[in-house]
């Protein structure tokens, strides 16, 4: 099992919609709207490191209103 945190920078004020759409992605176990340089943080739990990329680069970045993502894979 691989755990990763995806920092999501938005370009829309529709944070609720983004949270819902991100939460609906398979592999995403938790999503929060946060204050600061990024707007949402999603926790991802998948079987392999390759699937982390599917979630962050493919699924999350495809959502309308997502400007950029940065992914951190947990090492512990």
């Amino acid at each position: 099992m691989v755990t990763a945190y995806v920092m999501v920078k938005a370009n829309t004020g529709a944070a609720d919609r983004l949270r819902e759409e991100i939460s609906g992605i398979e592999g995403v176990v938790d999503t929060h709207i946060v204050a600061g340089d990024v707007d949402l943080i999603a926790k991802v739990e998948v079987d392999t490191p390759g699937k982390v990329k599917d979630v962050s680069a493919t699924s999350i970045q495809a959502i309308d209103g997502v400007e950029d993502t940065r992914t951190y894979i947990a090492m512990d």
């Binding site: 938005a10 370009n11 709207i33 204050a35």
Partner: protein, 241 residues
């Protein structure tokens, strides 16, 4: 509304903590000081701190997102905290501490889409400012010249504007008490063409060159402009948002 009356110097002297001695923070500190309020600036950068001190401000050098630094700046006795750095993380942390210590909090955002998010979710933040928007309003006013001047965004759909009555204005010649503005607009102040702005008195007559300060919803701003400025002004000014 509250902000507007503070600007007019009606509120008694207050104490403010401003985080950030950049262009926004210093400018804010200057306006508050000029109105007789106590201002303490918190700035992380030594050179910026020195420059602010050189301009006569009380400066606490340190990270405005740290509680002990805000304590040193007197957050406990402060009426309000303005988190005005370019670093949103610092600004939000400062507001969290400020709110916890009982201060009114104002957060500077760096991109306008965040306004909606912070209004909805950031309970620690009482007001949000996006300086670039105000700058854009100023630039637009300057470019247009003309007889309508945006003074402030009060809320997303609410703006305070100053209008100058023209020769062809439908309201010209009437008195303040006869003035009928749309439902979502209120007259806040009135000034004769050669006088200062004052709280309007009902008998005052509205003449060419006189100025009205109006709080209006964007939806009725065009109607207000048409009434107060007349057709010519309307064509020249366009939207203010």
């Amino acid at each position: 509304m509250q902000t507007f009356f503070k600007w007019r110097g009606v509120a008694p002297d207050m104490r403010f903590v401003i985080i950030g001695a950049g262009r926004v923070g210093l400018r804010t500190a200057r306006v508050l000081s000029e109105e007789g309020h106590d201002v303490v600036i918190v700035e992380r950068d030594a050179a910026k701190s020195e420059r602010a001190r050189g301009q006569g401000y009380e400066v606490v050098e340190g990270d405005g997102s740290r509680e002990e630094i805000l304590e040193e700046a007197g957050i406990d006795g402060a009426d309000a905290l303005g988190a005005l750095t370019g670093d949103l993380n610092v600004n939000f942390a400062a507001c969290m501490i400020g709110k916890h210590r009982g201060a009114r909090t104002v957060l500077r955002i760096d991109e306008d889409y965040r306004e909606e998010i912070y209004r909805k979710y950031a309970a620690e933040v009482d007001e949000i400012v996006y300086p670039e928007r105000l700058g854009a309003i100023g630039a637009k006013n300057a470019l247009l010249g003309g007889d309508i001047r945006a003074i402030a965004d009060i809320a997303q759909h609410l703006q305070v504007v100053e209008l100058t009555i023209s020769e062809t204005a439908p309201i010209r010649g009437y008195s303040i008490s006869e003035l009928q503005l749309p439902a979502d607009a209120t007259v806040l102040a009135f000034g004769k063409s050669d006088g200062a702005l004052e709280i309007p008195s009902p008998d005052e007559s509205l003449e060419n060159g006189d100025r009205l300060v109006v709080l209006a919803d964007f939806g009725v701003l065009d109607d207000v402009r048409q009434l107060v400025v007349g057709e010519a002004g309307r064509a020249a000014a366009g939207g203010v948002n």
